[in-house]
């Protein structure tokens, strides 16, 4: 027995390097999962530029949830260096680095070159040796390409950084839409939606954003074409027209209306033309629909049992099952992109609102520590490994499912209701 066990350990240790770590399966839910440690000395090049690119790389490494940056204070050579010399690998091994990353940043006319080298310390394998060339004002896109390549080549993970987050930004007494890349770079306000906009939701092709605006003095639903910025009124029934959610198949949209007296969930074809189909029937509040990736199920929040809880409806049979039984306040469910999990808001034992996860069969509920100051509006990354959310300080954060990495994405405050887009072309 002992022999088998030790053999298994040997295999586990040996195999990743034997396979060249081409496609290591990482079970992000496994308790034993540890983030890969990265040593990244200061980048070579014009100091101000090199340092700012380094800082963004450091932030993005943490956002991945798969890597963690070793404190540069412990480095034998803190840099700047542009190349990891093979003879120095033992130095990086000594401080526990799984990967060592070096880079040179240089200006070339109106362009910036980011030349990156990433080495797997234990095998001396060059994971990455690439030059990313971008316009001077979009160096962050070079960093995104680098990070996606590092995740893919080192750990076999899907890319995430070519995705955006849309959120609501408060400016003075007004609220407007705001989009940014998922690490907070390239932020831009979308003005002109009236004084109060809410509930932005990205379509699954990334081309549209549905949102609520009080443009006509009523919470009505609008759909924005992301490329032309043209806005169309989608729903303006008497009462609330809120919490839109696109069907991943791209043909329908689910939302909440109170036109029949109390908030109920409806579904309607995107093109309009047909009256919305009413899905829920209860005296209570039904709100915040989320459609599963296969388009078959609808998660929503309902107070039909006295307190807000999460329910799942089979969209074919219309049968409804209650999913959450723990706690007195569970709200804002969202399906993961793989459809196996639902993230939601849970009033935890510390009397704070936390992000929680639960399997779609109602098992393995897990409360994430988050910021611990009251978290809201969970939204999954395109690969389903991470959750972004807003906190009571008005900033957007990204966390992994272990909750060990909670990275603040925005700096200025005033942000609520993030929604993560799919990967953009």
């Amino acid at each position: 027995m002992k022999k088998i066990l030790s053999l298994m350990i040997v295999l586990a240790v040996v195999f990743p390097s034997v396979l060249g770590a081409q496609r290591v399966h990482i079970d992000i839910e496994a308790r034993g999962f540890k983030r890969m440690k990265v040593a990244m000395p200061a980048f070579a090049g014009p100091k101000e530029l090199a340092d700012s690119v380094w800082s963004q790389c450091a932030k993005d490494l943490e956002i991945t949830g798969a890597f963690s940056l070793l404190d540069p204070k412990g480095y034998i050579n803190p840099g700047p260096i542009s190349f990891i010399e093979p003879g120095t690998l033992k130095d990086w091994a000594l401080i526990g680095a799984d990967y060592a990353v070096a880079a040179r940043v240089e200006r070339q006319g109106a362009q910036v070159n980011l030349a990156v080298q990433a080495v797997e310390v234990s095998t001396a394998r060059a994971v990455l040796n690439t030059v990313y060339t971008t316009k001077a004002d979009s160096v962050h896109r070079g960093v995104h390409a680098f990070m996606d390549a590092l995740m893919q080549k080192a750990l076999g993970l899907e890319p995430i950084f070519s995705s955006k987050i849309v959120a609501v930004q408060k400016v003075g007494k007004k609220k407007q839409l705001y989009t940014m890349w998922c690490d907070g770079t390239g932020g831009a306000a979308i003005k002109g939606g009236g004084d109060l906009v809410l509930n932005p939701a990205w379509s699954f092709d990334g081309k549209k954003i549905a949102f609520v605006s009080y443009w006509k003095n009523n919470p009505d639903l609008y759909i924005l074409d992301v490329r032309t910025y043209k806005v169309e009124l989608f729903s303006s029934h008497k009462g609330i027209n809120v919490t839109p959610c696109f069907d991943p198949t791209g043909t329908r949209i689910a939302y909440t209306l109170s036109k029949d007296g109390d908030p109920e969930i409806y579904i309607a074809p995107l093109g309009g033309g047909t009256a919305p189909e009413r899905l829920t029937r209860s005296w209570a509040t039904d709100i915040s629909p989320s459609i599963s990736p296969d388009g078959r199920k609808l998660a929503f929040c309902s107070s039909r049992a006295g307190t807000p809880q999460i329910y799942v409806m089979d969209l074919v049979t219309k049968k409804v099952e209650r999913l959450t039984f723990q706690g007195s306040y569970n709200s804002e469910p969202v399906f993961s992109p793989k459809g196996d999990m639902i993230a939601f808001i849970h009033l935890a034992e510390d009397r704070r609102f936390h992000i929680a996860l639960i399997k779609t069969d109602g098992t393995r509920m897990k409360v994430l520590p988050g910021t611990g100051r009251g978290d809201e509006s969970p939204t999954f990354s395109p690969d389903g490994r991470l959750v972004a959310f807003s906190s009571s300080d008005g900033n957007i954060y990204v966390t992994d499912f272990m909750g060990t990495s909670v990275v603040r994405v925005t700096d200025t405050g005033g942000f609520t209701e993030p929604c993560w887009s799919p990967l953009m072309e």
Binding site: N199, I240, C301
Partner: protein, 184 residues
């Protein structure tokens, strides 16, 4: 010549100061209490008052002022709710009864009820909760005999707190319904 220039310059300066102070005063007034457009409509919509001639019994300015005060009171008296609840308390029903008698006395006025929540709970759920609070008040006014066509509702969820800050002192004031007069 020089003197004349100086005088002109001085006059310009004085008038500039007056202009600036005038502006400032105007700005302050606006901040302190802009008259909601709906109220203006109501008051200018009673032309009889303006044509009242000297020597008549009534005080020309008293009537609109009294009306203005009544309107202000109507809009300032809010009703409050318990956490995550939308049922009406005894106090709320008392306030609503006053609203109903005011609306009965002024059949040309309509009201819009705004439902609000405190910051706790999710924004999405609070949009629904705000709606239900406004609806409770609307239903009760209709129960008291007000024509349903005269009472509209809107939910602002937790988006327009009356009191900033966290804690029950702020929260209990934010879980409310507000009443806005709309001209007919």
């Amino acid at each position: 010549m020089r003197n004349a220039e100086r005088v002109v310059g001085l006059m310009a300066l004085v008038s500039l100061i007056f202009f600036i102070s005038g502006c400032a005063k105007h700005g302050v007034q606006q901040v302190e209490g802009p008259t909601p457009p709906s109220q203006e409509e109501v008051i200018t919509g009673t032309p009889d008052m303006e044509l009242d001639m000297p020597g008549s019994e009534g005080d020309v300015s008293a009537a609109p002022q009294a009306m203005e005060e009544e309107l202000a009171k109507f809009e300032q008296d809010r009703i409050y709710f318990e956490f995550d609840k939308f049922n009406l308390t005894a106090d709320a029903r008392k306030v609503l009864a006053e609203k109903a008698s005011f609306l009965n006395a002024h059949p040309n006025l309509n009201v819009r009820i705004e439902g609000h929540c405190d910051e706790r709970g999710t924004r999405e759920y609070n949009l629904a909760l705000g709606e239900r609070r406004a609806k409770s008040a609307q239903d009760y006014l209709i129960f008291l005999g007000i024509n349903p066509d005269r009472v509209s509702i809107i939910s602002y969820g937790e988006e327009k707190p009356l009191e900033l800050g966290s804690g029950e002192d702020a929260w209990k004031l934010n879980r409310r319904a507000e009443f806005r007069i709309l001209g007919n």
